[in-house]
Each structure stands twice: as C-alpha cells, then as structure tokens.
C-alpha cells in the first residue's frame, strides 16, 4: 500500500523572492525508507511542509495513508499530522525550557490515536524509548532541554517522533548538525527504532553518503520542478 502519494501538486510561495514547486507524480510505499537528496534552496522544506499538511497546495492531490490531505479542513489536517507524523528537524527540535520528557509527551497531546496506542503510563513509555536511545532518565526528567548536547537533543527528537508509533517519520537533515562519528551512531539508532516500529521513513538531506542505508534514494530535482524568480 502507498504511504504517501503526490499527484499533480503545485505550490507557489508568494514571498520575496517568489518560489514555485511542482511535483507531478511521486510515491512512497508503506514501510519504505526513502532519502531525498537536494541542496539548500531546492525546495526540500517546502516539500516536507506539503507532505505534512502544513502548506496547502494550489493544485493537485496529496494522499497520506490513502487520505487526500489537501482536501481536508485545516484543523483536520493538523490532527491528521499529529496522528500520523513524527517530525525531526535539522536542529532546535525541542522547546528549550521544557524538560526532554515534556517535549516527547507533547507529541501525544494533540493526538488521541497516539495516546491510545500506548499501553500504560505515557511517561514510562517515553522513558523506555529514550533509554533505548541511550539517554539517561535523570536527564530526561529534570534538566531543561537546552542543557542537552546537540546529539542528545536529536535523539530526544527521535523519541518524540516515534512515541505512539505514527505511520510516518519525516526528517529534515537530522544529521547535518552532528559530527561524522555521531552521525553514524544517530542513524543506527534512528533506523533501529524505525524498523522496530515498522513505520515509513522520509528523510531529506544534501548528503549522498547516507544513501546506502535507505531502500530508495532520489534526487529532489528528479521528482520535482522548481522555479525561483531571481532578481525581479
């Protein structure tokens, strides 16, 4: 079954400079791990915003888990995202003043589905996840997230993305803030958790060396046309 499918999608950004992206036809299968390669300004973030339902396409259909999210009302899209997606950013994933544990539990706040999927105490489930990601419990419970190292913060972000087992994990350059050694360790943990939960993984990056780990690697330019009015 198809996890994500974009058909005839067109999205224009009316900022300055104006920006236009078109995705004629692109799919991800359920359980697949996909790496999208693209440089900065290639429209990676815009594409992720479209897939997650944060931007509304001007034209076309975006199906996630068989549902056309472009046709949903904004509030439904937000709930849909809470239910189906775990998101990992490049950096600054966490609310710096809140504890890592609260940051993780925040993902459950907006999704009843993900809450009910957890058996037992949500905090305990979160701590099980962070333990398997090599994060000490004391650190999760008491320190503000800002006190964690960048590597630790990224791992907390993985825990937040995966808690309550969403169907999809979307990661936007999650390793680019890490040094080479931590990158490998981080990806090992990420893949281990993704495999364990059986979810689909979509990662965007500019780093081709990551390609080996994924089922499929595609260049963003191969699946989309972007245009940017330069100068003006």
């Amino acid at each position: 079954m198809t996890a994500v499918s974009l058909r005839g999608v067109s999205f224009g950004w009316k900022g300055s400079p104006p920006f236009q992206i078109e995705v004629p036809d692109w799919q991800i299968e359920e359980g697949e791990t996909v790496l999208l390669l693209g440089g900065s300004g290639s429209g990676k973030s815009t594409l992720l915003n479209l897939v997650c339902g944060l931007h509304q396409p001007d034209r076309g259909e975006i199906h996630v888990d068989g549902k056309d999210i472009a046709a949903l009302r904004a509030s439904h899209r937000d709930r849909f995202r809470a239910d189906r997606f775990g998101v990992i950013f490049q950096t600054f994933n966490l609310l710096p003043y809140a504890t890592p544990l609260d940051n993780i539990l925040l993902a459950l706040r907006f999704s009843r589905q993900r809450r009910t999927r957890i058996t037992g105490n949500p905090a305990a489930a979160a701590l099980r996840l962070t333990a398997s990601l090599g994060l000490p419990e004391q650190l999760m419970r008491f320190a503000p997230a800002a006190h964690l190292s960048v590597g630790q913060q990224q791992r907390v972000a993985v825990a937040r993305a995966l808690i309550g087992t969403p169907a999809l994990v979307v990661a936007d350059e999650p390793t680019s803030a890490l040094d080479a050694e931590s990158q490998a360790g981080f990806l090992d943990l990420l893949f281990e958790q993704v495999r364990a939960s059986g979810c689909t993984l979509l990662m965007v990056s500019h780093d081709q060396r990551l390609a080996d780990r994924f089922d499929r690697c595609q260049k963003l330019t191969d699946i989309s046309n972007t245009s940017r009015a330069l100068g003006a």
Binding site: N49, L54, S75, L95, A98, R109, F110
Partner: protein
C-alpha cells in the same frame, strides 16, 4: 496539563521580563484599586460620621461648608447663631432634641467643641452608635473636659489630668489662667470625635470672659473661683444638631428655620449636604479614576509589547508546536493564556500590595485627615473591576497572539532562520 506546564516553564525561562511585566501590572492594579478603595472608604467614613441627626442648623452660608465645619471640623464658621435663635429652634414643636455646638478654640492642635452633656446622648455615628467612654464620664463641672481617643493617645491624657485651652486655632495666646480637668476619655470611633476636646458651653464662655478680640482686657484677669460665680450663659453658638419628632417633619422644620425672621439661618439635612459634597468632589474623583485606569492600560500595553518582542525569537517554538500537530488556534491560545496568567499574577500581587499599603497607611491617614479607612474584603464591585482588568489583559494580548497565529500559518514547520 502539559501545555500549562510548558507555558509556565516558558514564562520562567523569561523570568526577568515576565517579573517586570507582572510588577507593572501589580503596581497599576494596586493604584487603581487603591483609588477606588480610598474613594469608597472616604465616602463611608464621611457617611458614618453623622447618623441620627435630622438637621444641622447654622448661620446662613453654604450647606456644604456648614456640614464640613459642624460635623467634620473642616474649615471655620463664618458666623454664629444667637443663643436666642437656638432656643427658639429648640422649642419648636417638631424638635425632639437639639444640641448646640460652639467651635473656634483649639487645644494643642486639636479642636475644642463646646456643647452640652446632651451631645453624648444624641450624637450618633456609624448606624446609630453613641459615643462610648473609655474612662470617666461626660463633663458636669464648668472646667471639665472630655477628650477623644486620639487626643488622649497623642497628648498622653488620662483621667483627671489638667489641661489648658487656647483661644482660636494655632493661636499664640493661651488661656493658661483657667485650668481644665480631663473628666472623660472617649473610645475610638473613627470619626472626628477622636480628635476633639469637648467642654461645656459655659466652659467656653469662661475662658473668654476677660478676653475680647483675642486680647486680654483686664490686667491679671479673674480667678477660676470668681468666674464660677459669673453669668456664663453663651450669647451665641456655632451650630446646632437637631432631631425631629418624626421624620416627615424634617422638611417643614427646615423650611421654618430657613425662613426664620430674626436672623438669617440655614438648616440642612446631613444626607443631602453630603450628596452635594460628593457632587463637588466627584470631578476630582473621576480624574483620579481616569488616571489610574490609564496606568492600568499602560501596564497592559507594556505586557503586549513584551509578548510582541518575544514573538520573533519564539517562531522556532511555534514551528515545533505546529510540527507535533498543534493548530494555529492553539498557538494563539497559548499566548493569550500566557497574558492572562501574567495579568492574574499581577492583579493578585497588586491586591496584596494594596492591603499591605492600606494597613500601613491607615494610621497616617487617620492622623492627618481624620479619615478612618475601613479595610474590608474585596466586595463584588471590586471583584468585577479586577475581572475587568484581567479581561483587558486577555484582550490586548489578542494582537500579538493573532500575529503569532499568522506567523505559524505562514512558517509551517520550516522556520530555519
């Protein structure tokens, strides 16, 4: 629950600006509520000062000024009423009782009030209470005095202490040849009675007997014993408190006195005169309230500015919230919640500060203005005002919250800068 915890953490994270904002709201609330409390307190205190007196009679002047000098000992009488007129009034068939009062002398900064022992039977305050004696009793000798609670406390008077009365307020001349004795000390009332020295009308006459126009007329003067043998019926009194036989006769009696032919007199109904006073004071009150409302608005605008300026650095937080599924409305709500929290904290601290301030200011205000501010729990009206402040706090936060709503819609979760 988790959102509340996160909001609290977020505020703690910005504790300095948040604390200053809360402080500004607290001070403005204390000021606003303080003006309101002092205003209503002053009104209650004034209204409580006279009770059970149906009419006040004095020489023809303004009704407010008659009320002020006769009851509140504020200002001075411009003219007196003759003893004859007083007696005519006292004999009027509608008059149940009449108590003359004679003002104009002072004793070490406190006013001296000449009257008859009836004063203690008929003068009532705060819903009909009579003056109570802490020590002693009403005067019955020519040189007896009764002192108010503050007079006794300030000057250290106790029963049977001697005292000397000066003629005129803050006068240089002392009537040191006629020693008075403290025959009674009144209990605290929270009215001008606390700051008054009471003597008999004859006593007032006695200290003036060899004085004319503020100067001693005959050499070394008369001894106290010689004075006792003299005719001491007063020729004039300052005003009279009058009770009527039946309330409905008040107006007729007032008309009769105001049209008294031998002398121009003025009779006032205390409640009506107080109302006139409030109309005069009302303008100043409105100005004070206006200013304090402005201060509250300024503090709330300060909070809005503070939230606005925090928005840019918090766009990242909004992107995170949106990514985990928060609706833009939730982001909006969080900012309004934040503002409401700060306002409620500010209002609570403000009320605390106000009560602490009132407790400290009460003795000072009492000593200087003779106003005994009641310190009551917040009443319904005051709760409504505080509610309005909180609502205003929520209302002004709509601006930055709406901006956050717009930003979070536009940014999505891709806020990298």
């Amino acid at each position: 629950m988790i959102l509340a915890r996160i909001t609290l953490r977020s505020l703690l994270n910005r504790r300095l600006t948040v604390a200053l904002t809360i402080l500004a709201i607290a001070l403005s609330t204390a000021l606003f509520l303080g003006v309101e409390k002092v205003r209503t307190g002053a009104r209650t205190s004034f209204a409580n000062t006279i009770s059970g007196t149906d009419l006040i009679v004095g020489a023809r002047s303004g009704s407010v000024s008659l009320l002020l000098y006769s009851v509140f000992r504020i200002g001075n009488a411009t003219n007196n009423i003759t003893w004859q007129s007083y007696q005519d009034i006292a004999r009027h068939p509608s008059v149940a009782w009449a108590v003359p009062i004679s003002l104009g002398d002072s004793h070490r900064g406190f006013r001296v009030l000449g009257t008859t022992p009836d004063y203690f039977e008929h003068y009532r305050y705060r819903g009909g209470r009579l003056l109570a004696f802490e020590q002693g009793a009403a005067f019955d000798d020519l040189f007896d005095t009764v002192v108010g609670a503050d007079v006794a406390a300030t000057l250290g008077y106790r029963l049977d202490d001697p005292m000397v009365v000066a003629h005129g307020l803050a006068s240089f001349s002392k009537h040191d040849d006629k020693p008075f004795r403290v025959a009674g000390v009144l209990a605290k009332t929270g009215t001008p009675a606390d700051r008054t020295v009471f003597v008999s009308l004859e006593g007032i006459e006695a200290i003036h007997i060899d004085w004319k126009d503020g100067r001693r007329t005959s050499g070394r003067g008369l001894s106290a014993d010689m004075v006792r043998k003299m005719e001491l019926t007063p020729k004039a009194v300052t005003a009279a408190l009058v009770g009527v036989t039946s309330k409905i006769k008040s107006f007729q009696l007032q008309r009769d006195i105001n049209t008294y032919e031998t002398e121009p007199l003025l009779a006032i109904l205390p409640g009506v005169a107080l109302q006139e006073l409030w109309e005069i004071v009302g303008v100043a009150e409105s100005a004070l309230i206006g200013v304090s409302v402005m201060v509250v608005i300024t503090a709330l605008l300060g909070m809005t500015v503070m939230i606005f300026s925090s928005l840019n650095e918090r766009r990242r937080e909004m992107a995170i919230l949106r990514a985990v599924g928060a609706r833009p409305v939730t982001v909006f709500g969080l900012l309004v919640t934040e503002a409401v929290f700060m306002t409620v904290a500010g209002v609570t601290i403000g009320v605390t500060v106000l009560y602490a301030g009132l407790l400290m200011a009460r003795p000072v205000v009492d000593a200087h203005f003779g106003l005994y501010l009641p310190i009551d729990m917040l009443n319904q009206h005051e709760f409504a005002l505080l509610g309005a402040v909180t609502a205003a706090g929520a209302f002004v936060s709509i601006l930055p919250a709406f901006r956050a709503y717009r930003l979070s819609l536009a940014d999505g979760m891709a806020m990298q800068t």
